[in-house]
Amino acid sequence: MTDRHAAGLPVVALVGRSNVGKTTFLARASGRFAETTNAPGTTVRREVREVRTRAGRALLVDLPGTGSLTDRPVSGLPFWTALLAAEPDAILVVADAGDVARHLPLVIACRDLGLPVVVALNLADEAAAHGIGVDAGRLAQLLAVPVRRTVARTGDGVAGAVALAVSRAHRRRGVRAGTHAPRALVPAGTYPPAVERALAAAAAELPTSRALGAAAFDPSRLGGFVAAGALSPRGAATLLLPDLVDPVRRALAVRWAAEVEAVHPGRRLFADRLGAWSIRPWPGLLILALVLAATFALVSVVGAAAAGLLSGAWATFASPVIDGLVQVLVPIPELAAALLWGLDSGILGLLAVGIPYVLIFYLLVAALEDSGYLTSLAVLTDRLLGGLGLSGRTAIPLLAATGCNVPAIYGTRVLPTRRERVLASFLVTLVPCSARSAVVVAALMPFAGPAVTAAAFALIVAVTLAAGIAANAMLPGRQSPLVMELAPLRRPLARQVAAKATARFRGFVRMAAPVMIAGSIALGLVYETGLVWPATAILDPVVVGWLGLPSVAGLALAFAFLRKELALQLLLVLAAATAGAGVASLGDLMTPGQLFVYAIVTSVSVPCVATLAALAGELGWRTAVAMSAATLGLAIGVGGVLARLLGVA
């Protein structure tokens, strides 16, 4: 929070349950859309935005969705530690206007802290569509805090609610600086006398509770926060006694909700019906099949067309320029050729895979996320994934992995335990990404037909499931069961989907571009200098002896570590270099049986270098290397058995 001190701006914390539209609220308040998901637990990082309102400027801090101040939504620490770490001067609680009873306990808890609180009754449009009206004025009286109705999707009421919170934050700053007179914030006697007495007793003992211990979320730190004026002694006491106050707050919430809500049972909305269908086996599985079919159709048809256009444009416009420049600037022919591997074909590879496949896929996943459908997917797949030691939450990264493994590995962050993250990441590396799927299709479709291609994918799925079951049995521990709020189905906001997809795509390019370009140059150097050929002798026993493939296939497999989609192009280049003319297509180099083995081994073996880097960053190098070794062993084992079954070796 150094930026905050530099700016000296008051801080307003955004607090609310999952799926209440907090992140959209932040986007509307600050005029900038970014990463958000209509699925629980996805605000992993803390977003800080400067906002300008008619009440002045302030910093708005978005915190992860939480059900109470003592829940542990991320990283195992109670939510209040994150809240107090943001040093808020006021709290803007975003609550669901259509489900006041469920959201009020968090509002009451924030109010108890002794900080200024403003309530935004968000999703007011959805509530109205469900026939639910809320008397905001009466609720404000009961809570003794201002309540504003908002619709974050359209922006209605957002500016007013934020301005109010900002003015309260400025006032509190003023009170602490001595320029404003303080006001009582919380009326006394909200709770039954016995509870208030217990809170008063705990508040009185705060300074001495420093002796309790030294855990990271040590409640004794509360004494320090109180001394610093970050919250009231009574507020600290409510954090120490959640088991005492939470049931009272829930009862109060139910009573107040009944008093302020007017429900007119209306017609059942189509989105609700669709939401109910999507979690039943019928027609839920049909909906799932349609969603998956549409995803793959869009990615393969639109993606392939875009990839063709891009490659054509690159070959016509960019390639000649880059080639000419490099030839002129680099006098050593081998070096020039090696540089071109990176600057010409390397960048082309990044564009031809990245823009058509990865970007389109990101747009689709972003739209699915924002629609809320992915939580239905988690329910439908929970049982299947349970057999692999995972919960339905893993379905989301596994789906993303079919586009690119790298973002899927980051996506496993939503899983609660390291064991699940390791298991899920292992499965992710085995799921064929778009580049590997392209290799399988290009190797088999023309030379062996669609049935064999489908069989290859079925085999890859079977290998993935078997490996997942084995990994689950080998890793100690057990899975944490699924308990998850389902997101209501909503029409995705185009701006939000576009903002999220482009943000993730930028991340992908930043991560993959250096690896692909530098890797391609290294590859080119090894190839152009002829150092490549002695390497074949080392690989021959496995490649020729065990897998029954031509010698050059080993090099192509090894280099595919840098770029999976190169596995085929490279094979052709290497084959032409060794065999000379006459090797115009893969069919001339390998039999259909060999191509099948080659496609399976390419798909299952070691993830590409970008995936390895992502694994290492998320789980550590030891785990990343162990996983890669496991997939390599699996690929060689399965490939060798296949070679014998198919009579290739």
Binding site: G67, D71, R250, G275, V483, L486
Partner: protein, 81 residues
């Protein structure tokens, strides 16, 4: 708590309205995080087959609960239809 007979949430039919009598202590935190506590009213909206999760409606929210957890949640057996 009254003396109405209890039954695991996992065994209640879809459409049943009931009240939570007890939650297993080891799952109490994660259930509370999604807003499910002892004494809450809920409606069963889906029971996925082959040991899949149970989906319960709490207020307007729907919460998916793994069957292993739902098997430990005791609810009133005299579920109102």
């Amino acid at each position: 708590m009254d003396a109405s007979p209890s039954i695991p949430l996992a065994r209640l039919p879809v459409g049943a309205h009931t009240r939570v009598i007890s939650v297993p202590p080891e799952d109490a935190d994660r259930l509370a995080a999604e807003g499910l506590h002892r004494g809450d009213s809920l409606e069963v909206v889906a029971q996925l087959p082959l040991g899949g999760p149970v989906v319960a409606r709490l207020g307007r929210a729907r919460v998916a609960i793994a069957r292993t957890v739902a098997a430990g949640i005791l609810v009133e057996a005299a579920g109102r239809p």
